[in-house]
């Protein structure tokens, strides 16, 4: 905030200041000792302009920092001490360098003039700064526009200073007296408008009380010295009467302002503590809103929660304990080590009874609590529950050091805050969950995409063999796989498999299986051989808990035979002459065991194909499809449906079965992939 009359200087502060100072210096060197009233007045005007430019220059420097009233007051105090020293020791210093300095005041000795200039200029600078501080203090925390009062005061101070040279003229001295009196009146009025004290905390108010006494006394002493009859007064009067008067007015201003400040602060003291608490509550409210924005990052949130918790209940340390897997874990700690927090937490939370677990508990630690040195360091612990949906999620703990204990107000504050913290923590958790859910859904999208690419896009076509297949993926990819391999012109290999587990890991194993069988079918001759080789390869890559059930079959179109081997998979069904035959050769699932045990368990069956034979391959998704009562579709219903559509083409059979399954499961969601492959031998077309 820059004063209106000084706006002129705004653009070139330093240049203006240096220019005016230069003019003043030259003026003083050339016109010292002149008694002409006009010359003196011109000098006065120059001096006041210098002050004005200095104030503007300083204010730019001050304005860059955030203003703390207490440090401003300190500045005034220090400057006052400097003024005091300057005034007190000016006589002796000048006498040291110049003979008869007192008489030489009016001499035209240029060196002496320069010394006088430097001295006066120092005084002038100090006064300017003090004036600037007054201005800053005046405008500090003012809610309304009050610059009119201050500007009026400045005008009168300038007038009072400029007319000071009339003091020796008894007829005209009433003019300067009038201006002075008006100035002082305005100073008093302006000094009463102090609005920044209320914003200080109690400690600051106490130091302000002491400072204001000291400073107002210093101002009074300086005022007395300034208008005394020492060398200082002579020099200043000779340099510029206006400066001398300006100094007086500043001293008066200081004395009045700081006296009023003293009393105001004094009357503010009793309410200081209440004000502090209110101010803290307000800032806590701001913190609460900060909590809401931080739910995105749990660690950041925990950090803020512990920080605010310590503030609201005036404690030194705080930490959060959360329930994870039925265990309380310390998740964030502030001003206390993790180990200490764990120990104290265990001790304190161990004392909470079942029926009290939703209230804030205060525990004062004693020596006998078995916490050794911890009980010496931390005297009182408060534990506030964190809850969500009426369930306990954890605790917010806070500790006081030394001999301090939590009082009721602290307890209430922590209680209130823990409610807010609970909401924030719960929101953060929910958000994390939904992000995780979204991530899983994305992952499943990828898995489904992989599965879609792995499965054959269309079934091979043969004259003598009708082929139909259906694959219905579950939301969580189930790991079903089927494929056909054209081994030679008259040989068709096929596989149906189910990888254990779900999701993306199952999808990757599927991809691996496809690769393995693609390559094995190029060289190996029998289904058993192929499965044994596949198992050996899988030994290197499958983890222990993953396995694959599979049936591998080989149809020789010329010899009209089917050879199959089964590794732990659902049996193959052979529909022949109106009945169903379960073809279930022995065999352990791929990846369950390796080496001889697997190889020896594996059997191979060869079937001579007959007209209208249907071969049905499926995964457990078919028989384990569930209705809302969690009942399985089951083997019986499956077989019954198959028998009903015996005479139809493979496409119709699969359609009927899928129709029957969806009729059975109704609206129940599908938990596992459903795969159904039907091959029908039809020699005569």
């Amino acid at each position: 905030m820059v004063l209106n009359p000084l706006r002129f200087f705004n653009k070139f502060k330093l240049q203006t200041f240096l220019g005016i100072t230069g003019v003043l210096f030259l003026y003083k060197i050339f016109f010292t000792g002149s008694d002409s009233a006009l010359l003196k007045s011109t000098g006065d005007v120059l001096v006041l302009l210098t002050i004005a430019s200095l104030v503007v220059y300083f204010s730019e420097y001050l304005g860059k920092r955030t203003i703390n009233p207490l440090s401003l007051v300190m500045n005034v105090g220090i400057l006052n001490v400097i003024l005091f020293c300057l005034i007190t020791f000016s006589g002796s210093i000048f006498n040291m360098f110049f003979d008869n300095a007192a008489e030489g005041v009016n001499s035209a000795d240029p060196i002496f003039s320069a010394a006088v200039f430097v001295y006066s200029f120092l005084i002038l600078s100090v006064l300017s700064y003090i004036f600037l501080v007054f201005k800053e203090l005046y405008f500090l925390k003012q809610k309304r526009n009050v610059s009119i009062y201050f500007n009026t005061m400045i005008v009168f101070i300038v007038l009072a200073s400029l007319t000071y040279f009339l003091r020796n003229n008894p007829e005209l001295s009433f003019i300067k007296n009038t201006f002075l009196i008006v100035s002082i009146l305005l100073i008093v009025i302006n000094s009463v408008k102090i609005s920044w004290i209320a914003f200080l905390v109690k400690k600051e108010k106490i130091s302000l009380l002491i400072l204001s006494v000291v400073i107002s006394i210093l101002f009074i002493v300086n005022l007395a010295n300034n208008s005394g009859s020492g060398l200082h007064e002579k020099i200043l009067m000779n340099f510029s009467p206006a400066l001398s008067q300006f100094a007086n007015i500043i001293m008066i201003y200081g004395a009045i302002y700081f006296s009023i400040l003293f009393f105001t602060t004094f009357f503010h003291l009793p309410t200081a503590e209440a004000f502090d608490r209110k101010a803290q509550e307000v800032s806590s409210l701001q913190y609460f809103s900060k909590l809401i924005t931080q739910v995105l990052d749990f660690n950041e949130l925990a950090e803020t929660v512990t920080e605010i918790a310590a503030k609201v209940c005036n404690s030194q340390a705080s930490w959060i304990v959360l329930m994870e897997n039925n265990e309380l874990n310390t998740v964030a700690n502030k001003n206390i080590s993790y180990i200490d927090a764990e120990r104290i937490g265990k001790f304190v939370l161990g004392q909470i009874k079942e029926d009290e677990k939703f209230g804030t508990l205060i525990v004062n630690l004693g020596k006998s609590d078995g916490l050794d040195k911890l009980s010496e360091r931390y005297s009182s612990i408060a534990a506030a529950p964190l809850k969500a949906h009426n369930k306990l999620r954890g605790y917010l703990l806070s500790a006081k050091k030394g001999d301090l204990i939590f009082d009721d107000e602290d307890k209430n504050a922590l209680d209130t805050f823990s409610d807010y913290a609970s909401v924030a923590i719960e929101n953060s958790r929910l958000l994390e969950e939904s992000i995780e859910k979204e991530r899983l859904e994305k992952e499943l999208d990828v898995a489904r995409e992989i599965q879609k690419k792995i499965l054959p896009s269309k079934n091979p076509v043969f004259e003598k063999l009708g082929i139909s297949s259906v694959f219905i993926p579950a939301f969580e990819v189930g790991g079903d796989y089927y494929d056909f391999f054209g081994i030679s012109e008259n040989k068709l290999g096929f596989i149906i498999a189910d990888v254990s587990g779900k999701g993306i890991s199952a999808a990757f194993v599927m991809a691996e299986i496809k690769g393995i069988f693609e390559s094995l079918t190029k060289t190996a001759e029998s289904p058993k051989e192929i499965l044994i080789s596949a198992n050996q390869i899988l030994k290197k890559t499958l983890d222990r808990k993953t396995f694959v059930s599979a049936i591998f079959g080989l149809i020789d179109l010329d010899k009209e035979t089917l050879k199959i081997s089964r590794a732990g998979h659902c049996p193959m069904l052979l529909l022949r002459n109106g009945s169903i035959k379960n073809i279930r050769p022995g065999g352990i699932g791929l990846g369950l065991t390796f080496g001889r045990r697997f190889n020896e368990s594996l059997e191979e069956v060869e079937i001579k194909l007959k007209e209208n034979d249907s071969i049905v391959l499926y995964t457990d998704g078919v028989t384990e499809a569930k209705n809302t009562r969690m009942e399985d579709f089951g083997d019986k219903l499956f077989e019954k449906t198959l028998l009903k559509s015996l005479e139809h083409s493979p496409d119709i059979i699969t359609k009927n079965i899928i129709g029957e399954i969806s009729e059975f499961t109704k609206k129940n969601s599908q938990h596992d992939d459903i795969t159904l492959v039907i091959l029908k031998w039809k020699q005569k077309i």
Binding site: E476, G479, D498, V499, S500, G501, K502, G503, R544, K545, T546, F547, S549, A567, G568, H569, C570, P571, G586, G587, I588, G589, L592, T593, R597, S601, D620, M630, D632, H671, D672
Partner: protein, 117 residues
């Protein structure tokens, strides 16, 4: 969602794990934790009681595979007991009877451990 839980009782040095409910990809971790706890206490004689188990998926079967190697390396075993026909059928299809000893009752399974001792 169907629930799954386990509880354990000790019978002459054998940890009997009771499985109840629906063991699938979502609940398999519960059983994994149970087995980890038992093995963590250096108990390697384990009987899994399937009496109250209504369903087991391939992921559930995987849990047994995950631990069997370590248990057997330490001179113990996981024996399976009291399966319903439906659950046994799932085990049987995969060839588990060749890999695990499966008993009609929990008593028989525990007794088998005693015989070896």
């Amino acid at each position: 969602m169907a629930e799954f839980n386990t509880w354990i009782n000790e019978r002459s040095g054998v940890s009997v794990v009771h499985l109840k409910g629906f063991l699938d990809a979502h609940t398999a971790s519960t059983l994994e934790n149970t087995f980890s706890d038992i093995i963590g206490k250096n108990n390697f004689k384990i009987v899994a009681n399937f009496k109250d188990l209504t369903y087991i998926s391939s992921a559930g079967l995987g849990v047994f595979m995950a631990f069997i190697e370590k248990v057997r390396e330490n001179g113990g075993d996981i024996k399976l007991a009291s399966m319903s026909d439906k659950v046994f059928n799932i085990f049987d299809l995969l060839g588990f009877p060749l890999l695990y000893e499966i008993f009609k009752t929990e008593d028989e399974a525990v007794k088998k451990f005693e015989e070896i001792k």
